[in-house]
Structure formats: structure tokens, C-alpha cells
């Protein structure tokens, strides 16, 4: 039984009941040397409580995948430590891999020539658990992900959405209680993505899994995650719950649409407010102004003086995408 003893010792030292599922401290990684060196991960530290779902957000090249691969030991970091269930992943990887699995980069991570069920059994064994011991779980997973009817079908014969579900199922088929999902809905249509998110949420709650999700899909992050870590240029630039992040950027705004706003009125609005966005489509002009309710009266006054007839007025609520763009934009500007 490989690595079992090492894990027991590690957990005994750390005290499993009180330890966060994931502890990352001072993780750093630079690729290359000298002038061509690229800092991919820069002193990243965070913890993830057991049973929580954390989203990892960041623009392309921000270092999300390198962070995940460094945590999992696939990339050797220059500095830092990672503990999963109290086990030092880099010092005792074999013990840690009994507790963690990953679906990386939303790609296929199973064998297309094997059937769905054969994949679940194979990868359960590879991850160190006897497939017969988790056969019941496999049947439940197949049912939860609507794969029961395709259980004995080779994966290559399934649709893209089904294949993605099989990838997820083969990761959840193991004994891992910590799971990393990199772009789990990549390439899925809206309906398939929604189904996968719903089932993922249900399975996570049911099995008390600890999950780190990396995704460009804000719906995935908002739907599934308790907390969001935003990464920019290899550093953590924000780390909070979705609600707190939205509250932190709760700058009220108003969107005005009209067909007779002239340049002089637009200029007056731009001079009166710091954040104004103007979009024109033919004779239709859309003015988005970031301001509070008192500012709205000033805006209304300017428009009235300009003789503007309003087609519509809406309030603008910040969403996670806007928060993400603001946060990562401020990194780019720095």
C-alpha cells in the first residue's frame, strides 16, 4: 500500500480536524533566466477551507495554470510550500495524491477508446483506490451526470458535452476530497454548461469536496464558488467572497439612451463626471455614467438643458465580470 504511512504521519502532525484543506504559502516560480526571465507566480499565499469552492480568475497569462500545476507538483516551484489535507505535496507527493485529483485545462483527460465505466474504474485504481470499493459511487455519479445510459459506450462516440461530463466524472470517481478543475465548461454550449454547474454544485455539497475552479466563464464562478481569488501577473490581486467583491465595487451607475444627444451635451456630461462611457450606433447614443443618486439629478439637469429626449434610463449593477476587469485592469495600469 504505497504512501499510506507517510500520509498518516503527516496528518497526525497537522491535526486534520482543524487544518484547512489547502494551504499555499509563498509560492513563487520564474521561468528562464536573466533578461528573458518570466515571473509566472509571485509569492502567492492562500488557504482553502474544507468543503468550500474557490474560483481562480485571471486573464490569459496571469499565472492561473502555473499556480495550479505548482500546487499539484507538476511544476516545481522556486519557493513556497503547499499542504493538502495537512500533507506537504512537494515533500510527500505520493501521499498527497491519494487526496487530490485534477481536471486540467478543460481538455480530455480520459481514454476515448474505453467506455465511460471503464474510465471511472481505471482512473480510480490509478489514484489509489480499489474500483470495487467505489462502485456504488460510480453508479451514483453516472446517474447524477446523466451518463447512466452511456456507461458502456466508448467515450469517443459521445458528444462534446458528454465527454466533458465523463472527464469530470473520472476525476470525481476517485477517493480525492480536494479537486482542481481548470476550465471545466470550456467549449460547452449554454445548456450543457448550466447542467454541469448544477450537478457539480450538488456533488460538491453532497461529498463535502474542496474544489478550486479556474475558469474564464463568470457564470461558473458566480454559480459555483463561495470565494474568488483574482490573479494578475502571477500575484493575487483580490481574494474575497463573490458578494464582498461585488459590494466593494458597488459604485452605482446609470445608463441613458437617446436619439438626440448632441456633442455639446456629451461634452458637458464628460466634464461633469469622472467615469463616462459613450457608445454610438447610428443616431442612437448610449451614455453610461458612474455616479450615485445625487449625481443622477445633476445628469438629468444637463440632459434637460441640452433638450434631450430620453428613450430609456436604467441603473447599472456591477457584476463579477466588471469587478474582474477593474481589478485586473488596475494591475495592467500599475
Amino acid at each position: 500500500m504505497p504512501a499510506q504511512r507517510g500520509r498518516e504521519e503527516s496528518v497526525a502532525r497537522e491535526g486534520p480536524e482543524t487544518t484547512p484543506a489547502i494551504v499555499v504559502e509563498g509560492l513563487s516560480k520564474t521561468f528562464g533566466k536573466g533578461e528573458s526571465a518570466v515571473v509566472a507566480v509571485d509569492d502567492v499565499s492562500f488557504t482553502v477551507d474544507r468543503g468550500s469552492v474557490v474560483g481562480l480568475l485571471g486573464p490569459n497569462g496571469a499565472g492561473k495554470t502555473t499556480i495550479i500545476k505548482s500546487i499539484l507538483g507538476m511544476v516545481l516551484p522556486d519557493a513556497g510550500t503547499v499542504r493538502i489535507d495537512g500533507i506537504d505535496v512537494h515533500a510527500d507527493p505520493r501521499a498527497a495524491y491519494r487526496h487530490v485529483d485534477a481536471m486540467l485545462e478543460g481538455a480530455r483527460n480520459d481514454y476515448w477508446r474505453l467506455t465511460v465505466r471503464e474510465n471511472l474504474r481505471y482512473f480510480a485504481t490509478i489514484s489509489g483506490v480499489k474500483p470495487d470499493a467505489v462502485a456504488d459511487r460510480h453508479e451514483r455519479l453516472l446517474a447524477q451526470l446523466d451518463l447512466a445510459e452511456e456507461a458502456d459506450t466508448p467515450v469517443r462516440e459521445l458528444s462534446r458535452g458528454m465527454k466533458q461530463k465523463v472527464s469530470l466524472a473520472s476525476v470525481l470517481a476517485t477517493d480525492a476530497d480536494v479537486v482542481f478543475l481548470d476550465e471545466p465548461t470550456l467549449g460547452l454550449d449554454v445548456e450543457s454548461s448550466r447542467t454541469l454547474r448544477r450537478e457539480l454544485r450538488r456533488i460538491v455539497a453532497e461529498r463535502n469536496l474542496t474544489v478550486v475552479v479556474s475558469s474564464h466563464d463568470m457564470d461558473v464562478i458566480e454559480d459555483v464558488c463561495d470565494r474568488v481569488i483574482i490573479v494578475g501577473e502571477g500575484r493575487i490581486v483580490a481574494d474575497d467572497t463573490v458578494a464582498n467583491l461585488l459590494a466593494g465595487f458597488d459604485t452605482q451607475g446609470y445608463r441613458v439612451v437617446s436619439r438626440d444627444i448632441d456633442e455639446r451635451t456629451v461634452g458637458a456630461v464628460e466634464r461633469a463626471f469622472d467615469r463616462v462611457t459613450v457608445e454610438r450606433d447610428g443616431d442612437r447614443t448610449e451614455l453610461s455614467v458612474e455616479t450615485d443618486s445625487s449625481g443622477f439629478y445633476r445628469l438629468a439637469g444637463i440632459l434637460e438643458r441640452g433638450g434631450v429626449t430620453l428613450d430609456s434610463v436604467d441603473t447599472i449593477e456591477p457584476d463579477l465580470e466588471e469587478v474582474f476587469l477593474r481589478v485586473t485592469g488596475s494591475v495592467d495600469d500599475a
Partner: protein
């Protein structure tokens, strides 16, 4: 304890009865090979047909050119060709497999295993060698029928000598697999090395002492004596068997070391699993 229900918030205690051992690992990779073998027989049959066509060209073409001289040597050629097909399969089992796993996106999952990346790669290599052995036996049988040759087929002797001979090549395959982890597209170039096995198999092990330390050489010489002269395992000189065993173990360990070093370098460079 961990049967799919919530476990109360603490890190789950490992249940030894649920944990898979190395035997389970071997069974899993072996079963996968079996499934692919029976589900996609065209792959195996195609390999056999290509090997036999190649042998046919060698045999009939050679006889047309060299006449009786080749016919006199046919037993050695058959045994050598049998060992060559076995060696090519063993060599490519790990290196080609790694290239394929990278393309399929499954390499990382074989890295993230409590068994360790190298032991899993080795287990997969062993499973493929068993499959290759079965295919090579079919090729051997057809070669014997086509050429009208008879050989001494002591199963124990042939299995032990062939397995130990192939182990040295498996070690080379391990090293090549390690290089493939670092440089994914080098696989096709590494496959060219398999033509060098022809030289090793036909090297005069008993005439030049040091050549017997090369992969395949000692095994090829002993296999020739077993299958042509009828020499059985316990009649073989202890020194010859020791060299055979030593080269088998030595090359496997050396290949394993190269694999471990290149994998670590791939992790440092961040290219593990990248294509």
C-alpha cells in the same frame, strides 16, 4: 467511511481495505491493454501483417539474392527477427506511450498517482511487453511455417532468456520515454534507434567479450543457442546467465534513473504534459 456521503468536515482517514496496491495497478493497466487488444483487433493484426511482410521481403528477397547461403542461416534469422519484433515493442512501449498520453491529456493523471509516475509508466510498459510477446509468438509461428524451419522451443528457457533480453531494451525505452517527457516531438526520431537493435541482436557476443554488456547482445546469443541448439536454462554457463541478468537489471535501473531525472527537469521547466 468515505462512501460518497459527507464526512463531517475533517480530513478523511485512509481505509486500508479500500486502497489499491501495485497488484491492482498491474491488473488495471493489463486489463486496459486487453480491452484495447480485443476491442480493436485491427491494430494488432495490422502490426502482425506489417511484420510478416517485412520478414517475407527479407526472406524471399534474400534467398533470391543469396540463395542457399541464406537458407543455411534461416534458423538464426528467424530467432533474431523474433527477438527484434519483441525488442521494438518493448522499446516503443514506454516512449510512444508517453507521447500518446500527452496528446490525450492523460499524462498528468498518471503523474498524480500515489504509486509514483515512474512505477506507473513501468507497469504500463510491462503490460505492453506482454501484449507484444503474444504478437511476437504469432509472428514466430508464421515464420516457422513459411520457412519450413524447426526450432527447439523450451518454453521456460525461451521465456526467461527473452524476458531478460527484452528488459535491457525496456530500460532504453524508459530513458527514451524520459526524453519524450522533456521533448514531446522527439519520439519519431527516437524510434529510429530500433533499427540499431538489428546490429545488437546480430553482434558476436561470444567472440567479443565487451559487446555482451550492450543491450540485447547476450540475450540474443543465448536465445539463439536455446532455440537452435536446444540448450536449456540450467545448462547455460553461470557467467553468461549472470551477464544476462546484470545487463537486464542494469539497463532498467539506468533507464529508470534517466526517466526520473528528465521528469524532474520537465517539472522545473514547466513542460510536463505540454505538447
Amino acid at each position: 467511511m468515505r462512501d460518497g456521503t459527507a464526512d463531517g468536515g475533517g480530513a478523511p482517514a485512509p481505509d486500508p481495505d479500500r486502497q489499491a496496491g501495485y497488484l491492482d495497478l498491474l491488473r488495471a493497466v493489463g486489463y486496459r491493454e486487453y480491452l484495447l487488444f480485443v476491442r480493436y483487433p485491427a491494430d494488432a493484426v495490422g502490426g502482425i501483417v506489417v511484420s510478416l511482410i517485412f520478414f517475407g521481403l527479407l526472406f524471399f528477397g534474400g534467398r533470391a539474392i543469396a540463395g542457399q547461403a541464406l537458407t543455411d542461416e534461416i534458423e538464426g534469422i528467424v530467432v533474431g527477427y523474433f527477438l527484434w519484433t519483441l525488442s521494438v515493442g518493448a522499446y516503443s512501449s514506454i516512449s510512444n506511450d508517453i507521447g500518446s498520453e500527452v496528446q490525450w491529456g492523460t499524462l498528468e493523471r498518471h503523474f498524480m498517482t500515489p504509486f509514483g509516475f515512474a512505477p506507473v509508466a513501468f507497469a504500463k510498459g510491462v503490460a505492453k511487453v506482454v501484449r507484444t510477446f503474444l504478437i511476437s509468438v504469432v509472428i514466430l509461428a508464421v515464420m516457422l511455417v513459411v520457412t519450413g524451419t524447426t526450432l527447439q522451443l523450451d518454453l521456460l528457457t525461451i521465456t526467461v532468456v527473452a524476458v531478460l533480453a527484452v528488459c535491457s531494451v525496456l530500460g532504453l525505452g524508459f530513458a527514451a520515454g524520459g526524453v519524450a517527457v522533456l521533448y514531446k516531438r522527439i519520439g519519431s526520431w527516437l524510434n529510429l534507434l530500433q533499427f540499431g537493435f538489428v546490429v545488437l541482436i546480430s553482434a558476436p557476443a561470444f567472440d567479443l567479450g565487451w559487446t555482451r554488456l550492450l543491450p540485447l547482445v547476450q540475450g540474443s546469443a543465448l536465445l539463439q543457442r536455446a532455440m537452435i541448439d536446444g540448450l536449456v536454462l540450467w545448462e547455460m554457463p553461470l557467467l553468461d546467465l549472470s551477464v544476462l541478468l546484470g545487463t537486464a537489471v542494469g539497463y532498467v535501473l539506468a533507464g529508470y534513473a534517466v526517466f526520473a531525472i528528465t521528469t524532474k527537469r520537465a517539472r522545473r521547466l514547466g513542460v510536463l504534459g505540454d505538447y
